[in-house]
Amino acid sequence: SSPQAGGDGPVAGGTLIYLEHQAYTSLYPPSAGFYPNGALVNNLTARLLHQDPETLELEPWIATALPEVNADATEYTFDLRTDVTYSDGTPLTAENVVANIDLFGLGDQDRALIVSEAINNYERGEVVDEDTVRFHFSAPSPGFGQAVSTINSGLLADASLELDSEGFGPGNAAQVIGAGPFVVESEELGSTIRLTAREDYAWAPPSASNQGRAHLDAVDIVIAPEDSVRIGSLTSGQAHIARQVEPQHEQQVAAAGLEIVAAQTNGVNNGLSFRFDHPLLQDIRVRQALIAGIDRQEVVSSIFSDGYPLATSSLSQTALGYQEQAGAYAFDRERANALLDEAGWEVGADGIRTSEGQRLHLVVNEALPQPRSRDVITLVSQQLREIGVELELFQGDQAAQTAASTDIDQIQIYHSMVGRADFDVIKSQYSIENRSTLLNADESGAPIDGELEALLQQVASEPDTEARAAASAAVQAHLTEQAYVLPFFEEPQVYGLQPVVHGFETESVGRPDLAGVWLEG
């Protein structure tokens, strides 16, 4: 996805200035889902496997080959490279790998370290010999191969594994020691982190264009939360790369002669989850009406750009397990009105429908990390008003939004997305064990829609790929059939690049890979 390298090939040296939207919050790999965390972890750590961002195929990295997996996918055996060292000089050993995956798979409550959402059914790790490790699972865990390729499984030196939640927090970045192409040199709390290339890095994944040390000498990751500042600095040449170029700025960036890279995130699409257990949403006709009453085309074309394709399923087209849901989200205002009429919702004096004294009033969160969530909701609420539904945007800062997000009385419609290039991603989004955006659990913690939960578990535990794809398709069909979700678009990670930047790539969910980047001139 990088421009042609002017013939001369990569140039070594230089300091890249990379603008980030927010400061990182933790470098504990299972927390790397947060983009600013992930951008760092991805460049600081190596993983057992590597996933090709284009094909989503796995390939060896620290492991010498793809793992041996037993038939029901409850045992994974990896053969490890023996030439890898961490940046503090300690060797990457089998014991160390087991210690890593044990921590990520089991978490550590005492140190406030969570379990990685990528690893399911983990039981234990085993050092088979000095360059072989094996992992055992209590139930099939077919996603584990992909899991150890993600940033959530970035391998850390023994010293770093001792850290507690605080130790992974801001201010301590230099203590987080990986075996990736970059090392943290210095950190200015909340404003800048300087990464330097690791001179002896020589274990890049086979498909990487740059097999040796990173071309760049250093990377300055500078926090610039204000959009206009980030874009202004980028277009005025004060920085080389800016993450999160919002659609409204794309034109400005392009007009300044810069390149825009929209990296697909290969996961669950940006969209709405209807929390069907709420009294107002229990009737499927209401949910269907909401879907029919929203003109996604208008949302996408007026607020977003070409980099944001209209969603055709709850999963992105490039996600594993994608199954098109043709015609599921058609805009048809008449049908929407008819459905609501049928469900007994009558239009009141102020244009909002009521039934048995209840107003059809729903609250949706603001997806703070997602692009232009406010504008999307504003437009959608305008559209829904046309069919007599009142949609309110939940007011609150990050903490308030987070606190309300799991409370069905406060938020009935949840706006979100999740990126992960594995079949499991759909489970991450909807399972009651994970993000549970539909809030499909009753008070006792049992699933309300048992069928959905069972299908999700199947995705995560069906040992063979085809069966997983089928299970994923079944989930998507079920979501469509029950009118649980309305996906808007396939959300990319959008970067703006100065023309002098070459070789910029992202990993499978859009985190930057800086090892191959070089600066012209």
Binding site: D227, H249, D375, T378, E392, Q395, D397
Partner: protein, 282 residues
Amino acid sequence: MSATIASLLPKRAERSGRPNPRATLVLAIAVLAIALAWAVVPWLFTAQDPIAGVALDALQAPSAEHPFGTDATGRDLLARVIFGAGNSLAGAAIAVLVGLVVGTAIGVLAGSTGGLVEEALMRVVDVLLAIPGLLLSLSVIVLLGFGVTNAAIAVGVTSIAVFARLARSQVVRVRRSDYVEAAFGSGGSFLAVLRRHVLPNSLGAVLALAALQFGSAILQISTLGFLGYGAPPPTPEWGLLIAESRDYVATAWWLTTLPGLVVAAVVLSANRVAAAVRGGTA
């Protein structure tokens, strides 16, 4: 410096073309009146919908059809400014009222009772001053919940201390005056003197401050909007209009500039009126 023989030197010749100071006051009152009219009967001033936009018309520069241009979702900006007057002025009014009522009550109580009560109250005021205003208002919003009214109250809370201080100093000044002494001397009770003399003569400066605070309240509310604690969209609100459209400073100048000018005009007018109030009561 030889040319700057200014106000301190005698004026031998009357300088002509001196604008009448009343003219600016009239202008200021006119601006406030228009803003008030927008707040009360916005539909008389625009036929456009402030909430619903035509998505295809997004980000149009000012034109005959859209004198202030359109915003990112194709809404007419002028309509949003006009309809926003209601929210903004009401917000500012609430903010000022909170500060005025609570602050003045504290200040008058402290100033008129004196002694231990005064000491205690003024220390409370010091504490209020010692907590940074923005932090205080953010906490109040989080505490009360988000929304236009709560943001306004939060801004008002931060001005309580200032009002209290001013009210107290005014009351103390008036209390020392000969006419208050004379009123006591003619048999007036504490409350009667407070009502007849102390309050009317103290509140002039306080009201001037209120007019001044009115302008700054609009700005503070907009700062809260900037930090993400303002009115919920799609509510048109001036501060929010500026705050939300800051991403377009480089590409669509009108989005921040025109509402900004409206706010500046209103704030300036409020200041001018405040000066007149002060002048009239000093």
